[in-house]
Every structure is written in structure tokens, then in C-alpha cells.
Amino acid sequence: MTTTNKDFVALRDELASWPAESSSDAHGVQAPAEREVYAPATHSAALDPASTIVQGSRGTGKSFWAGVLGDPSLRAATAKAYPRLGLDQLDVRFGYTGLAGPEGVDKEKLDECVSPRAAIDEARVFWWATILRAIDSSVGRTARRPKEFLDVAANIEQREAMITAHARRLQAHGSTLLIVYDALDTLASSWKRRRMLTLALLEVVWAMRAWRAIRPKLFLRPDQLEDESLRFVELPKLRTGAVRLTWSGTDLYALFFARLSTGHAADSFKRLLASLSLPWVPYDQILARQWPLAHDEQSQRRLMAALAGAHMAPGPHGHKKGNTYDWPLKHLGDAFDEVTPRSFLSLSIGAAKYGESPPEDRVITPEGIRHGLRAASKMRVDQLHDEFPWIKGVLAPLAGLLLPCDEKEVFKVWKKAKTVSEAVESAKRHGYLPPFPEQEDADERNLYMALKRIGVMFRRQDERLDMPDLFRVAAKLLKKGGTAPL
């Protein structure tokens, strides 16, 4: 079997046809689908029912895994990838998903239970109610609103009796109830209320350690967990025990190749693998990582060299521009040096779409890969924009700066562009969380701190401020309406 030009074209078309934008929800229209599941070995700890808090930045797969856990057939498939976790012994219910519908608990249902000026006691009762609701649905009743459980939740004795009774039932069957909380950044549209609700949830989660058969699991953004104003004596323990969802370079390539292997150009992909003496395996084995391309970097490098050429430039000096395997990983990282699967796939899709006449013996080119960084960069900022609607207005003025530079230079640019006041006003007008938790914190330094928390900027060891390439590119791509002298 030899690969032909047709195979390269087929693979390129396949890659270009992948949806450029997609994000997951725990349930509903955007719930994860079979064949989309790819299970890196390192995510085992995150999916372990015993790990209570899983933290991950936007796009690392929090909602995806929440959805997989919540769906019995996907959970069963995933159990094959992580045989030691006992995922098939689980009953999974949602505690919060940010989504409406009978299964979901969202801000609306929460606001029904927790009054606008509520103190933390009221919030705690609400979270207990979500646990009681999960138990209720676990015993087979149709899902009810959390509101209906508030009375029992507020009564310590009744509440504990109900939880204990269910825990015994579960233990008798050797089963565990997992209650999944996702999309926790949508709890409230003010910093104060969100902090209060987050803290109450963490307290309830801490109290739940008394029942081994009923385990809460929180998928949380790191900035929400690390918020310094959260005060709770057990918080350090929860933070330390939190598992971080991350993707190594090998994981990202494995995901990419798994998609190619199960897509419409699977036959072409098979022939390409054969030409490199790499095995092709069916989806089940991919899921169980019984495939060299799941973990063997050298095999991955050889395959990538066949797809894109080895180096980022042609000719005898091309090697100095780096190789096609490392380049995407190097430029897609955020300030925590984390690359998300969505960024990685966006770059690949962008690369496949680039250039008028595709190369004869390659699927993508170095120029395409470079160009793909634009697509990935926009995708990432658009994603962040969903949660931090101020991000574009804050990034855009930095486009002309020579980063890294002294913080004074950065602050001066924002001052000239009146970015801080624009951010405050825009947040007020559109009802979203401003970058500053407290009104009196609205200054350039705290704007930087907000970007730092979400991995968009960082301070180098020489004290100067810098920004990863991923976001520099985006800043330059944002349209400017004009300029002001510096």
C-alpha cells in the first residue's frame, strides 16, 4: 500500500472540514458525542471519583468530561480507557451545569432559591438542596427543582438522615453516587455574590467527606478556586487536593491523530500509517491507548513529518526555524504554558485551509502551520471573551507594544486608551463581571493582575511584563478604530 497524492488531498479536505469552533456543555445540544472521546492517560486522576475538585482553564475539557460522566453510554466507553477507576460502578447526577432544562441547574434556578441579598447560610442551604435533589433523582424519581428541597436542606437532622440512608443503600450495592458541578463561573454576575456562592459550595463539599458513597465533583476554573478573597479554614486542603486538567504535547498529537483515524479520510490515513510502518487500530483500541501514536513521541514525530515536512522552512537551513512537531506546541501555550486541545485543533484546521494549491505530497505546509496560529489565537480569545467580555478591549491597545517591556509602558498604553474606565463602563452597561473584583481596585495594575490570573500576561524573571505569542497575535489582529499619540 502506498500513499498517493489523492490521500494527501483527502486528509487535507478532512482536516479543513472539521468545525473550527466548538465548545462542550455537560448536557444538551453541545453535549459530547461518542467517537469524540479521547482519553489521555494523565486525565485519569481528574476522572477519579475520589478527586473532588478538578481545575482547568477554559477549553481544557471540563464540561466535556462532566458530560461524559453524566452520560451512561459514554461513561461505559470511557471506563475502558480507565479500567481502574470503577466508572462503570457509578451513578452520576448533576448538581449544577449552568444549563436550563429538566436535568440542569442554572443561575435561574439558583436565584429562585438564594435571594439577591442573601447571606452565606442561605447559599449553603441551596447547595445542600442540590445534593438532596441528586439523591432524589438517583432513587429513580423524575427530576425536580432544587427549590423543592430547600426545607429539608435547611434542617440538619432531616438532611443528614436522607443522605445517610441513601449512602447505605449505595454501599449495599457497592455503588457510588457522583454529583457533578460544572460551569461554576456562571453562578452570579457580581464578584461578591459569586464569591459567596463559591465559598458556600466549597464548605458543603468539605462537609460531604463524611459520606464515602456520595461524592461531589467540581469542575472549576483555576482563577475561581485561587481567588484570594475566599476565606475558609479548610480551603488550603481543597486547593492542594485539586487535580489540574492539562494536555501534554503527546496527548494533543494523540488526540489529533485519533480524530484523523476515525474521520472520513480514515482509509487514506491508514495508507499513510502503513507507509511509515505504523499500525492502524480501531477506535476501541485508540480509546484504551493501545496504539503507539497515543504515547510514543518518536512515532508521532515521524507521522507529523510525513504530514507537514520535518522543518518549519524548506532548504538546508530550514532546521533552524524549528520543526513542525514542536512549533505549534511552542506558540500555542498560555502564560501557564498550557495548550488546550481546541487551540491545537484550530491551528491544524487553519493550516489545512491555508494556501491555494495544496502541496502534492503533504497535507499541510509550514506556512499553513504558521498561518494556523492566527486561527488558534482568535479562537482562544473568542473563547475567553465568552467568560471575560472585556478581554478584546483590553488586549487591543497592547498591539503596538514591544513586549516584553516595563510595566510602566504597559500601564501608559492603557491609560492613553482609557481602557480601565471603558472596562468598568462596558461591564456595567452589559451586565458582566468587570476585571476588577472591587470598584476601588479599578486601575491599570489590577487590570494586569486580571490578565495574569487567566494566563494572558505574565511577569518575567527580569520583572518586565510579557505576553505569550498566542495572545500577541490576537492583539495585532483586533481591529483598531484609530490611534492616539503616546
Partner: protein, 457 residues
């Protein structure tokens, strides 16, 4: 006007520039050329005729400002004066940044003139690598030996040349006394003053190293050959003559750069090599210029993470920046400069301190500086929350610049290689041992020497 008692070298050019700019404006400054003579004195060659009164005034002011650094015979020269045309049209004129202004400078040096030469274009294959550093003891020769041994182990044919005549190292590292060739580079540079080097002399420069095994070959041109070691009393005498300019048969002058280039070219074309590795002299000496600028090679700039490294390379890079005409694209030779952090820590975060410092230095002083222009304005986004994407911007304005000069590679600190004696202790030359320490540099050299679009596994 202030007449300070002392004017020193560093003051002289800024004083001239400010004085001319004050009298003739930036345009007048840009039209002319500054001549700095061998002793350092300055004169300004105006680009267009000045009227007598203005000319007189400017000349007086220059004399007052420059003091000892004024060329007293002619501090100001008009475009039609004797010799002016030659200076104004001199192609070796450099652009210098002086404060906020730039000025064209004709620099006449007695020594160090090779540093003013236009950097050589990329040499034809085989690829050449120059191992350069500002100080000894940074593992330059060790790295070169490991690279040579590695290439040879992969079946490559390597020529290793020692240009460090003051502190030779390669011969002792790579050759045993019994296979030391008759002559060394020091002899080649002395003999070529008096006669053409013939092929038999060239072959007497080369000794085969027993470090090569399994099919490859390492030919070594040491700094000192057997004759030098047999007559050690003559070495300093030869050294004194090695750097002399050479008068070619046609009467033209060959500087040390020309002589070294000629020697390497001839050795390169003779042997059917896959790679040429050159150990350059440490420091900013004239011979370093020949290796760094003159060979059309890839240059590895070794340095430790310490203050001296940055002081020295700042001087080198700032000088190289003057060889890049302003407003022009970054020339090809800049792409052939790669910094190497020597004896680097294993910890990547600790290494990044060096990288950050290096990048700042390059940006501020180096030959890429023309690619950076300090921002003068702030870009105001269109809207705030929903800023649209601008698809019209071309890739090159958006994507990160990629220069090897900005990306130091590392040779790790490794005590095992501290007193490296590869001929006696071959255990260090097993690939898994040296790969972890020299991996980055091996990858760089392999990429050029065995170019193929495949990744070896």
C-alpha cells in the same frame, strides 16, 4: 557653548553629531560623512556645498567642541575639496546610531579593520560551523570535539580547524603526538606571507583523529604542528608574523580575514567533507572577525551566564548592528548567528534567565534592532466589548519573528566533561551520555549536515 577641559573617545562622535545637526539640521548631517582617522580624530565631509560664512562658523564650533579629537588640518571638508568624493562615495561607510540620530562614518583603523568588512555570504556546501566565544573555558573545544565525534559516528566526514593560535586546544584534544601533522594553522598563516601554499603543504596540515570510528572521519588542522612542538622557542616568533597582511602577486593586500578564508576554502574543497568545524579564537581580536564574519559559516556564540558575557557580546552585537544598512531588511548573515548558553543549568526556568537577558540585549543593541521601532502611538480598538477581527493584516505583521539570534540553545553543565580527554576516556562518547548534555547543539549541526525531510528515530 561649553568648552569642557577633556574630550574622550566616547564623547567625540556625539559632540560632532550634535554640532553638525545644530548648524545644518538632520538633513545636512545625513548628507555628509564623518571620517575617523587611525588615531581617532574626526572630520566632517559635507554632502553639499556650504557658503563661506556658515562653513567658517561650523568649523570653528567643531574645533571648539572636539578639541583633541578634531582633525586640525581639515575638520570640515566641502564636497568639491580634494579627496572628498572618495570619502562621500566610500562603500565601506557604516551607519552609526548616535543618541537619537544616525550618522555615516568612515572608520580608518590600523588594526581591527577586518571587523569593518562586509560579512561573507553563506559559503557553498559543506556547511561550516564556527565555535566562537569571548572567553576560554566555556567548553567551546569540548563541544566541537563532541560534535565531530558524533558526526563521524553517523558516518560523516569532518574537518576540524583550530584558529585559536594563542590558546590552541584542538590538536591536543583530538590528535596524539604520533599522528600530529607536520604543520599547523600558525605555519599556514606565516608561510603564505612568503610563498603560495601548495597542495602538499596543505596535506601536511592535516592529521586524522582516531576519535572517528565506525565509518566516519575526522581530519584535524591543529594550531601547532609537529615542527612547532619540536621548536617551541620559535612559536612566539611565528605568532608575531602570522597576523601580518599579505601582499598578493597582483599587488593587492590580503588581510588576516582573506588569508583565513582562503585557507579554509582550499581545505574545504579538497577533502570531500560533510562538515567543517572551526574553533575560533576567544575574544574580540582581529582573527575572531575573520571567523565570525569572513567564513560564510554558521556561528555559535558561546557564553556563560555572567556579566562579562553580556558586556562582551553587547559590544560585538552593537558593532554588527552597524553593518546592517538602516531601513534595509535583516541580512542573511544575521540568520547564521546562534547564541549558546554554555554550562547551562538543567533547570529550564533557570536557563530562561539567560535567554531573557540575551533577548533584551539583542533587541537593544543587536543587528535586529532595525526591525524594532519604539511605538509612538497607542492603538485604540474599534469598540470595546465587541472589537471585530481584522483579517486584512498580513501574516508577517502578526506572527512572531523567528531569529536564531533570539533563541539561545544550551550546552548543559556536566562535570564529567570538565577535564575532557576523549582519546583516553571514550566512555563519555557514547551517545546516551553526551546527548543529554549537548543535545541542542547536536540537533542544530545535524540539521545542516544531514538535511533530510525526515526525523530520525
Amino acid at each position: 557653548m561649553t568648552f569642557d577641559a577633556n574630550v574622550f573617545f566616547d564623547d567625540s562622535l556625539p559632540r560632532l553629531v550634535e554640532t553638525v545637526a545644530a548648524e545644518l539640521g538632520d538633513e545636512g548631517l545625513a548628507a555628509g560623512v564623518v571620517l575617523r582617522d587611525a588615531s581617532g580624530r574626526l572630520a566632517f565631509f559635507a554632502g553639499y556645498p556650504l557658503d563661506a560664512e556658515r562653513s567658517q562658523r561650523l568649523a570653528t564650533r567643531l574645533l571648539g567642541e572636539l578639541r583633541a579629537y578634531a582633525r586640525t588640518d581639515r575638520v570640515l571638508v566641502g564636497p568639491s575639496d580634494f579627496g572628498a568624493k572618495e570619502i562621500l562615495e566610500d562603500s565601506s561607510v557604516l551607519q552609526c546610531r548616535v543618541g537619537q540620530r544616525t550618522v555615516r562614518l568612515a572608520d580608518r583603523r590600523l588594526v581591527g579593520a577586518d571587523w569593518l568588512r562586509k560579512p561573507a555570504e553563506l559559503a557553498p556546501p559543506p556547511p561550516r560551523f564556527v565555535f566562537a566565544s569571548l572567553k576560554g573555558g566555556v567548553g567551546r573545544s569540548t563541544s566541537l570535539s563532541v560534535v565531530a565525534a558524533h558526526l563521524a559516528a553517523r558516518g560523516g566526514r569532518v574537518l576540524a580547524v583550530d584558529l585559536d593560535l594563542e590558546a590552541p586546544g584542538l590538536g591536543a584534544l583530538l590528535l596524539t603526538r604520533d599522528i600530529l601533522p607536520e604543520f599547523g594553522t600558525i605555519d599556514a598563516l606565516v608561510e603564505n606571507n612568503l610563498h603560495e601554499l601548495n597542495d602538499s603543504f596543505l596535506s601536511d596540515l592535516i592529521g586524522p583523529s582516531s576519535l572517528a570510528s565506525r565509518g566516519g572521519r575526522i581530519d584535524v588542522v591543529p594550531a601547532f604542528g609537529r615542527r612547532s612542538l619540536d621548536n617551541p622557542g620559535d612559536i612566539l616568533g611565528k605568532l608575531a608574523r602570522a597576523y601580518a597582511e599579505d601582499i598578493r602577486p597582483d599587488g593587492s593586500v590580503a588581510t588576516i580575514l582573506d588569508q583565513v578564508r582562503d585557507l579554509i576554502d582550499r581545505l574545504a574543497s579538497a577533502g570531500g567533507y560533510d562538515a567543517i568545524l572551526v574553533d575560533a579564537r576567544a575574544g574580540l581580536h582581529e582573527t575572531t572577525a575573520s571567523a565570525v564574519l569572513g567564513l560564510g559559516a554558521d556561528v555559535l556564540l558561546f557564553g556563560l551566564h555572567e556579566e562579562q558575557t553580556f558586556q562582551g557580546y553587547t559590544a560585538l552585537l552593537a558593532h554588527l548592528a552597524r553593518l546592517v544598512p538602516p531601513g534595509s531588511l535583516v541580512p542573511e548573515w544575521v540568520e547564521r548567528l546562534t547564541p549558546v548558553q554554555a554550562k547551562a543549568p538543567v533547570d529550564a526556568i533557570a536557563r530562561s534567565e539567560f535567554n531573557q537577558r540575551w533577548q533584551s540585549m539583542v533587541r537593544e543593541h543587536g543587528p535586529l534592532a532595525t526591525a524594532w521601532v519604539a511605538p509612538r502611538e497607542v492603538q485604540i480598538p474599534e469598540g470595546f466589548r465587541d472589537v471585530p477581527w481584522n483579517e486584512q493584516v498580513p501574516d508577517e505583521e502578526v506572527l512572531p519573528p523567528e531569529w536564531s539570534l533570539l533563541e539561545p540553545i544550551a550546552v548543559l553543565r556536566d562535570d564529567r566533561f570538565e577535564r575532557f580527554d576523549p582519546l583516553r576516556r571514550r566512555d563519555l562518547l557514547s551517545e546516551e551520555v553526551y546527548r543529554s548534555t549537548f543535545g541542542a547543539i547536536l540537533e542544530r549541526v545535524e540539521g545542516a549536515v544531514f538535511p533530510k525531510n525526515e526525523v530520525s528515530s
